[in-house]
Amino acid sequence: MNLTGEELKKLLLPALAFVLLLAAGAATIWYVQSLRAQEAQRLTAARAERQQARDRLSRIAEEEREVNEKLAVFQRLKALNIIGEERRLEWVDAMSRIRSQRELLDLRYQVERQKSLNTVKGKATNVEFYSSTMRVELGLLHEGDLIGFLNDLRNSGNAYYSVQRCSMTRTGQSVTGATMAPRLRASCQIDLITILSKGAAS
């Protein structure tokens, strides 16, 4: 049966309804499938989170040992006043004290401006490490004075002393009975490292 133009017009509305129903059906499927994809992603994330929590729980004994070990180090750092703001006055006191105790003939030092140590890039922690480079020049009777100086400096605390460079040269002066002249001259570069933590463990 061939349809006339008038009859074809009468089919337009049903055809439109067909298209709309088809579109509505497709939209329904699309919506539900996108919802399913989202839920699948959430499930993957939840599984990963669960696995992480389970793994962390299974490693609890190891973590306890690690915490105990690190706590000992942390408490040692705290006892040495390495944690906290810089104590430049204490450093000056320590230098004076070591010079007088060791009877060093000559001791000159210069502490440079503090700078941040970004050792782990991109790691967001509440712990900041700072370093101030100190240049020390010493007049020594013998090399043992340098070793003693470094030892005393470490024990004085208030920073972690990371010696970067030390050089000793002969002064060429000979020992006379009248005056005490240094036979060696030492020059050291030491990083004074402090740790600033926000809400550090007590």
Binding site: T28, E39, L43, E49, A53, V67, V120, T125, Y160, A201
Partner: protein, 515 residues
Amino acid sequence: MATRLVLYFTASDHLLYRWSRRGLDFEAKFTADDLGVDEFRRYLQGRVGALVYVVADLSGEDFHEDQIPYLRGADRQAVVERRIAQRYRDTRLAAALSLGYVKDERRNERLLLASFTNTQQFVPWLEALAEAGAKLSGVYSVPVLAPALAARLGTRGRNCLVVTVNRAGLRQCYVEDGRLRFARLERTVEMDPEALAAFARAETLRIVQYLATLRAVPREGPSIQVVVVAPDEQRAIFERTLASDSRLAFRVLGMKEAARKVRLGSLVPGAGAEQLFLHLSARAAPKEQFARREERRTFILWKLQRAIVGAGAFVFAACVAYAGFEWYNVYDTRGKIEAQQRDAQDATQQYQRITATFPVPQASTELLKAAVAEFNGIAARTAPPETALAYVSHALDQFPRIELDSLTWAIERPDARAAKPAAVPAEKPAVVGELAQVLEISGRVVGIQRSDYRSVTGEVQRFADTLAADRAWHLVRKQLPFDVTPDGVLSGDIGEAAESSEAPRFTIVVARNLK
């Protein structure tokens, strides 16, 4: 939903019913003349778009069996139309009902050609329908609907005779293998029940004899099943009168029982068994009918519209069903997510309960670990110089002829010092890029004549070897008092004047990688 109207077309008058799933409701009665047609037109004026079924119950209905070759599609249609045209002068209302195929090699198709003796009586009524914009589903006849009724009444066996007491008269339809084979209508005028039952029996015997002459039924053989639908109040009389014998097996049904079997909810008071056929025409209209396609054009277009929308609805329903299945998956996934989250939460809580017993609070644990790990990293990149100095001092004890002028200890990359000019390259170069403790030792060889360059060189070489004896330390560079390397420039001034009191100088660089 379109109004469904059923026009019961008889020789005397035409009754119009409104059909619904509940049943039939009497609407109007029209006389079979021009006056009736006019009334019908007026009736249809307010019912544009109504769906109309015309069911004819006329005695003047012709049935003729014919055979056509085994054909399909347009070829078959052309042959059928030719046969109809050969049989009937007016082909406006004619039908060809298939009776199956002859079981021989040619497999001819058996056709029952059917039409009305007077088709003109339909013309004004069909024109009225077309003018009113009604959708003509088709023109049916009671015999065409008989196979559907026979099937619903539960007839047994291949063949049966359906006898109904209609408004138009006593209708007898012979159904063979579920297809109409023959039918006739006998008028019944004001008969009492006993007479009507006897008339039914007599007419049934007559039609069976006629069918036997046509060889439609065997002359001898098993009894023929006859289903009789009688008014309920006359059922007992019919049952009594229509006793079965060897030739005929009567089964009498009341109208109510028959209506129940065809799912007709309520019966129209005063109407006969024709309402069973009328109901079937609207409820399950058979494919076979008499109207031409042109007269049913509006109806076909309407069916096409419904089919398009129906297909859309079906697709939408399928999409919704699939979406429902997907939604179930979403629901199931959400359940799994919740289970995973619960499990993770349990593990976290358990972890927190255990870590609560740690020497530091849980919140500080991460901070503690970060701080100490960072500090350990820094500490690993440094070393105390005392051990290196002690190492050199120990080596010097074995070489009293060597005096140091300067000593430099540093944390740096050894490769920075390896490339100085006039230097002897190390036998085992340091790992490039790694931080190491680097010792640069500058000194002199005393107590050996400068001219004794072999002894001087040997002394420095032995000292360098001693410094590198420890596997932790390795030689980075050595600068001998005399450059004996192939790449260096060796110069000398041999003679008394050349003797100098200055001790030969050397430089040795050793390194030890940081752990």
